[in-house]
Amino acid sequence: MKISAYLSNCFSKNKQCIITLALVVFSYQHASAQAQVNIAFVLKPPYSSYLKDYANLGDKSIITVTNLTATVKQLYLKGSVTNVSEGLYVRTGANYHPSGYITLQPHQTQVFTSSSNVTRFLDANNTETNIVNPDKRNMLRLAQLPEGIYHVCIQAYDFYSNALLSDQNGGCTTINITLASAPFITNPHNAQTIPAAGANSIVYTWTPPIGNLSGGRPVYDLVVVKVMPGQNSNEAINAARDYNANNPIIYKKGLATQTYISQPYDLKPEPGATYAMQVIAKDANNTLSFKNDGKSEIVVFTCDTNKTSPPAPTKTRVSTPGAGSSFTGKNQPYLQLESYTFKGKLVWGYKKN
């Protein structure tokens, strides 16, 4: 039904209709009065768990503020970060009032994409929270937000009257914050010697990132690189992973599984050489952030020298996590050496001094 037809029909029928219409018009006018400024807010993924990244939204966000009216607006911004499932929030304090303001000409739009004073409304000294100890203490001690689904909202307030100018429920974005760990390499073990006869088909396995992976799709990069004599294994991996240097023998990107078996067409490890391996978890949907940027601890292994020699004894992993990923105790099996028998008389002597 056309609006004009509806109105004529309404006016001709009864008083109740007129009252209803009046209420609708009034509520529309009231809403219009509240939403004098529109805020569009986008946070750039992946979403950080660090408090500092919300205290100064700066370059991590795109805040678009539009004056919907025909008058000049001088305003400031407030915001909140709310954990949906826990009902916990950190928000700009009621007493917050910045020294400077944003001026919007009639129907003007301004976009804030970099750090400035107007994006610091969630700074530590401007906020209040309903989080109590021990959660508050832990959050501050670790400088991180707990995992969960969060609403991050921004509102605009008149600089002089402190009246809300934007929609109470507008200017919000929903994000998933995760504290997912980096993958952990389960094979080969650190300091393991791979039998030369099995070096053509080395089995590489790792765990998935452990944490809240909702909305994400983890995929993995696998880097295996030769460690030069005297070189630190972390440096060898860094050069290969970040800078395309050091000629990695395996650099597979975007693996969907937690296993990779080296195939005949992969580059071969050199007998006797030491190799470093790392797995990097990434989110194909680019929403999750993993600890250490998804980079696992490094595992170092050696390929046995002779293809037909007896296998070197494998060192057993004593402790899985930790610096260097694992370490071995004084539990190395005895070396297997060839034995020879000599017969005869052995004569020796010592110098007087």
Binding site: K52, A124, L142, T207, P218, N247, Y265
Partner: protein, 566 residues
Amino acid sequence: MGLKTLLLTIVLVILSMSCCYAQDMGQVDVKHPIKINGSLNLQLQSYSAVGIPDREQAFTWMINGSPTITILGVALPFNFLFSNFNNRYYQPFNQFGVSPYYKWVKIHLGYRNVQFSPFTLAGYRMLGVGIELTPKGFRFGFMYGQLNRSTTIDSLQNANPLAFRTQPTYSRMAYAVKVGVGNEKNYIDLSFLKGWDQVNSLSAQFQDSVAPQENKVVGLSLQKTFLKRIVWKTDLGFSIYTLDTRATQYTDVANTFFTEKFISDLVKPTIATQYLLAGETRLGYHGNRLGADLIYRRVDPDYKSMGAYFFQTDIEQYSIAPYAHLDSGKLSISGNGGIQRDNLYNLKTATSQNIIASINISFNPSSKFGVNANYSNYGITQNPTRISSQSDLFKQVSDNYTLTPYFNFSNQHSVNNIVFVACYEQLTAPTANINSSPNQNTMVGSFSYSHTWLPKGISGNLSLNYNNTTITGQGDIGSYGVGIGTGAAFFKKKVNVNLNATYNSNYFNSTGNGYTLLTALSCTIPITQKQSLQLYGSYLDNNSLNTTVVQTFSEYTFRINYGFTF
């Protein structure tokens, strides 16, 4: 720049140590005032590929060495690594350094990986200077230098959209101090590290997106040996890590985390500051035949030190690592078992518990036969801590079995070796969530036989290999093939030449997917008693029917290695 620095380093070291040798000339070998020993290696490699983008650089060279020069009793152990991998856009690949020492004085110069504690300065590469003093009963160490150099994107990279983009970084400096008493078996050390990013080292256009950081970390390390075989070792670390030094300081310190009250004078408390603890203690009995370590480790979420490379955090772990050498060493058994959990501060929506177990058995009853068996297990169970639709229960178990038997038969005329390798890897998820990997089963098997005719210096070998990975719901991938090779010694058995070829048939989803042929020729030539030359050339031909798995390509590699020990 590198060569100048190296020369300057050598001069400085010699000058700085000249005062030391003057103290104890009685110990100096005046007949041989200068001694040099060590090794030097040079590698040249040429590579080319047809059908795929190059997997290696077309030409690479690398030279590394670890010479030790001893001048009048003062040892100057150098090491260096130079290659054409180095690039001005990233952290230096080329490294050189020297740690001269005389008695209880050791000096560090150049690129060094020094460790004071696993939680403070823990072997992170540092370009700088340092000293360690270990007179009787006293332990002192100091290091100062650069952990990372500043990297950025310059106009050359901006002009080329295909150029490799680096992550801009600040120049990161640090100093570390260690003070302790004791010796290698019994000691107590206190260490401290301060690291910081130099804000002005990065161009202003990148400073907004990269936060300068700062770290102060203190560590305590102690070890006590009882009754010669019982060792108790403990390491603790407390790290104050500021993720962004530009973050606003709290104005109301009283309302913030309690530790800030008493350290607020030392550390500027901000919302970007983390206060993190880490520790490990282990008690071990180390006998000749039997022994075990009991280990407890706890690391706060996100614990880090600028002096340490990344290690797993948010973890509490109990483990035991026993070992036994029986039957005069013919039977060796070692194992490892433990449990660990994460989510130490209940910040995650689910808590994971891991069970780790591994055992290695090495049985070598004679020189003719031996077997090595290994089993390892890694299980993860994740339980939700809060009611949340995003925290489904998740379980995953990874099992690995490896069996490696071998046979050796030899007499005056020949040597025969047979080696089997069998490996089975299983990854199962009894309770899976949407992000779990599907179940996987992997089988790897290989057999190698070699025969050497000793009088003639000729050898031959034959090998078979097989690998298969089956992923539930997705299919399988693998290969099987045969290898054959021969070797011969020429020129009074000094020059060894080996020729090997391997042919593998590949498959994907139970359908043939071409083949891979690899042929390699290698030659070892001893130039003198202390110098040798190795030549290696290979050709790989990969023919693929399903090019979504791997492309059809061929590649050539030629490598020369020169080694010199002196």
